[in-house]
């Protein structure tokens, strides 16, 4: 397949598939006469979505949710990089903390929401904490892997150039781990979004998650769908921002460069 066709492919396939899915949705709901309270037809969801966008409180909820996600994510990046670098650079620390890290990693952090609400209240803080906590682990673990993955040959170059530890850290370690950091951030931003919404579901008086809960309570399935659509769009935009930052910061890396040459 020629590179040009390859580049065009998603622009053809994605809209076609979306149209097919919406059509099937419409067809099933119409021909099987599904109760719209259970599964609303696409046009009802579209109507709800337009209605949703016209309400000012939607937009204030968007601001709340996005702030929670972004703040939580940034906290996760700062702590994830710091802890990841420390654990990567100090093997005895990583070895002695490993059991605790594994436990913390597998613990269902969402279950802590009631506690976070008790500790941090119903406001933004409890959601930010959950966002940060969820995004922290993939970022920290990827950074840890990145610090450990510095090429021996590159280290030897720095040694042969009589580089100081500080120079090696900033010119080599911090550069080598960037692709790993972005891999962690791409997972992290998605988890941060989930964290904020789940936090709002369970202990919120604001934000899009809270709007979902009230739509559900009034048995408005179409509005619930519309809100999920809006949340997905927000998640997509946040992910694309991280992805675009990656293309800007590490244009040399296989994950960016390979894509560019394959589709150029």
């Amino acid at each position: 397949m020629s590179p040009r066709t390859l580049k065009m492919l998603p622009w053809i396939v994605t809209p076609s598939l979306v149209i097919v899915i919406i059509f099937l949705w419409w067809a099933i709901v119409t021909f099987f006469n599904v109760n719209p309270f259970i599964f609303p037809p696409p046009q009802a969801v579209a109507e709800s979505f337009v209605q949703l966008l016209s309400e000012p409180r939607t937009w204030s909820a968007v601001v709340v949710t996005v702030s929670e996600v972004v703040i939580g994510f940034l906290i996760a990046v700062v702590f994830g990089v710091t802890v990841g670098v420390l654990l990567g650079k100090i093997p005895w620390l990583e070895i002695s903390l490993r059991p605790l890290i594994v436990i913390a990693q597998v613990a269902p952090k969402v279950a802590f929401v009631p506690l976070f609400v008790i500790w941090f209240g119903f406001g933004l803080t409890s959601k930010i904490v959950l966002s940060a906590l969820l995004a922290f682990f993939p970022i920290m673990l990827n950074v840890l892997l990145g610090v450990r993955s510095v090429e021996q040959g590159h280290r030897e170059v720095m040694t042969s150039l009589n580089a100081t530890k500080r120079q090696t850290f900033f010119q080599l370690d911090m550069r080598s781990l960037q692709p790993y950091l972005f891999a962690g951030m791409e997972v992290g931003i998605v988890l941060a979004t989930i964290g904020a919404i789940v936090g709002e579901y369970l202990g919120g008086n604001n934000g899009l998650g809270n709007l979902v809960v009230s739509a559900m309570n009034s048995l408005d399935a179409a509005r619930t769908f519309a809100l999920i659509l809006l949340l997905s769009l927000i998640g997509l935009v946040l992910y694309l921002i991280v992805n675009e930052a990656k293309r800007f910061v590490i244009p040399w890396h296989e994950s960016v460069y390979g894509l560019r040459t394959a589709t150029a």
Binding site: E151, G153, H154, E156, V157, T159, S160, L161, N162, A163, Q167, Q171, L172, R175, Q178, I250, W252, H253, Y257
Partner: protein
Amino acid sequence: MKNETLMPTAPPITPVEPPRLRIQDVGRDFHTRNGVTHAVSGIDLTIERGDFVALIGRSGCGKTTLLRMIGGLLPPSAGTIEVDGNSLWRGSHVEPSAVTKLGFVFQESNLFPWFSVLDNIALPLKLRGMGKIERRERAAEFAALVGLAGFERSYPRELSGGMRQRAAIARALSTEPELLLMDEPFGALDALTRERMNLELQRIVLDTNSTVVFVTHDIPEAVFLADRVVHMTPRPGRIRQILPAEFPKPRAVEVTTTPEFNEIVRILRRDLDEEE
């Protein structure tokens, strides 16, 4: 000083320049599960300014180990290594003033993928605190010297293997080292590229008047490039013989077809084949 005139006139002191590199009784042991391996033992070698010395031997003969000790990457277990009369090693620590006189080219180019060719070449200057504009100017000169003019802004991944090695050589040369150490720098290149790189290296070395220690396992390459070929044997790594290769420089590829050249190659091949 009254009786100054009565003193016998002292013989004029001729300042003896220390050799560029003096290796005395250098050895290196590796401690493994199965005991101690003597990778290199009892090496004595003196290299004068402008010399091109090739280290040749079968794999495991300790040539790379020796080069890494000279390059400040691996501390010797025994003996002394002096660069311009100054000891390179102080215990297991390198002497910074001595190591800054060295330039090292590895078998892999080891270029940093996040830097352009120019920034890779400028890296040693950056580490020495040279300003951005100045070091980029210098780096551009060395890029031109190794034939990479026009590729300064490329990323290493965009270059062929031979061009990457050119960039690695330029990086090693950017600090104008007193001694250039090369560890099979063309080992990963195809034969044609390799032949061209040998000619290029000869030109660069003559242009910069460099002193070079060059590790290889390719006999004609060693004889073509070097003034002296140091043949090492394994277990433990020792110098077996040192053969001079005195052909006028610059040498053309045609020198490799002369009887004198082939005689040296023949001796080395025969002696290397003797080893198991």
